[in-house]
Symmetry: C2
Subunit: 326 residues, 2 copies
């Protein structure tokens, strides 16, 4: 690499924002069935830890998903959020994720002035970018900050990525996220992709973020790799909770960042008081061999999740099954 890293280990970068995705990505582990007590303690903890954004969950379509089969953080109704955050009179902003094709955005996303939500993160696959931009334009007009989370770029060709970044560059989106959906990227690849995203970001005035997965125990490593080249929105979850192998752990990330506004202590207390009980209740997440196997083959983790749920431990056989599908 001939490009310079941005800052050094001892410097702190005021451009870096930490986004806590515990309720949203963690909700994929427990059907979004977090108690109000948990959500309120998480909210207060994030404020105390200096987290910049807290993602409250999804804005999922109630026509597509049965409200009786999921916890409230799948839908993020305004009144449910206000029960947790009140008017959110803090410096921390609130985000929700809206999946292209799974959100009735014209129905469920109103005016910013009537909502405690500050940012809408639009998640789409790379072939759905025009539909993502439609949602981004809709949300921007109503006063929200917006993110585009382009999923599974590890499957995309360079020219597809460039085309996507070009379209997003010309859109009103604020932040473009590099998302390693399958936890398949190695740090060298993350560095190259981050620089590619930053090129378009510099041209069009967009900020770049990173959302990593821990299939190969690289979620934290890849997050700080992307940050070292200039990505500034960094996703994390407490104790790494998230689908399958999970995410970059807040305690690792906040323990690394040098900005004195960040504090690791509230996270540590929250792990003791809330995350360990969650594990004891049977909620499962984190690195395990089957996730490595889907990650290194650049595949969706769903088959690994099924393998683990079935109580199987025959990893070699599972690897053979994956190779047949690949």
């Amino acid at each position: 690499m001939e490009v310079k890293r941005k800052g050094s280990l001892l410097s702190f970068r005021p451009d870096i924002k930490v986004l806590d995705a515990t309720l949203r990505d963690g909700g994929l582990c427990n059907n979004f069935e977090f108690s109000d007590t948990f959500a309120k303690a998480l909210y207060e903890m994030n404020v105390a830890a200096g987290v910049d954004y807290m993602e409250m969950g999804y804005k999922a379509s109630k026509a597509m998903f049965d409200v009786n089969k999921f916890g409230k953080y799948k839908f993020c109704d305004e009144e449910d959020l206000r029960k947790i955050v009140g008017e959110n009179k803090t410096d921390m902003k609130l985000a929700v994720m809206a999946d292209v094709g799974r959100t009735d955005f014209a129905k469920d996303i109103g005016e910013k002035k009537d909502s405690v939500i500050d940012m809408v993160r639009v998640a789409s696959y790379i072939n759905e970018i025009p539909r993502a931009i439609e949602m981004i334009e809709y949300c921007k007009k109503r006063g929200y900050e917006t993110c585009a989370n382009v999923m599974a770029v590890s499957k995309a060709k360079d020219e597809e990525i460039d085309a996507a970044l070009q379209m997003l560059g010309e859109s009103p989106v604020d932040v473009i996220y590099l998302v390693d959906s399958y936890g398949s990227l190695y740090p060298e690849q993350v560095a190259k992709l981050t620089l590619r995203y930053l090129d378009f970001g510099a041209k069009y005035g967009k900020t770049i973020g990173v959302h990593a997965h821990n299939n190969q125990q690289l979620a934290f490593g890849n997050t700080i790799e992307a940050a070292s080249w200039g990505a500034s929105y960094l996703d994390a979850t407490v104790n790494g909770i998230g689908r399958g192998a999970g995410n970059c752990s807040s305690e690792l990330l906040l323990g690394f960042l040098k900005n004195p506004k960040f504090h690791i202590e509230p996270v540590l207390r929250f792990i003791t008081d809330y995350m360990l009980p969650l594990r004891e209740q049977g909620v499962v997440w984190g690195y395990d061999v089957p996730y490595l196997l889907t990650g290194r083959l650049n595949m969706h983790p769903s088959s690994a999740i099924s393998f683990i749920r079935a109580g199987r431990t025959d990893y070699e056989t599972f690897n053979g099954e994956l190779l047949e599908k690949d």
Copy 2:
């Protein structure tokens, strides 16, 4: 960084050697009480997986350590090793570790021609380098390959590291290891240290190796970071077994390396058949919050191990205790 990385993700580097440290570093988790069945299966698995070196354990002084209180891999008597490996008529070489000050090397290390051991890895702190070199010279004279594993360099000043590398450069040692004993180094630091080691390596014709710990979930990331700049001896253990947070996992490393001589399947089978039962027997290793806390403070993991053994989960209090010691 202006220096070029060595090779790329798709290239394979014939200079890369994988060393399995399962019995040695893993032995720190179970007092080296591995069964013959386990050791023999591990040996056969490593051969099948294409591993280059298998570390059989320590050559510890029987005057200092009671043979009744440790498994045989703490001492690695020749007859015990031969029970497992026979004459070792394979392409895989065998290593033992000898700690400066804890080995009666003149008594316990004989001539290479009478031993199945190929390599002696001499471990020392940076202030013990002259004593390490005494052992290295002794072992080289008797026909062994030698490594110098300089521990805890994260605590050393640059000028101390340079002085150590200078002395080792002028010694007959074959391989000099960058060892992140406390799991405190971030990839950027590993890159810089690796380049520093490689500078001396190039000057004196020494090979550079890396031994990482997983306190911050960076053992694999740091290992491939070091490799990407030119380190070529890479330590791993099956399923990451090792003291505290453990090591770089063989399955991650062999799943990453591109040399077709490496195979992940035997490792997967071994995890199912031998490592899962070890966990069920109560042997504990791997990433946990207390190891992150000692790692980020650049401290020995012993207090984290005690914390976990005591059944404590008050991470915030523990962090406060560490800060008082720091």
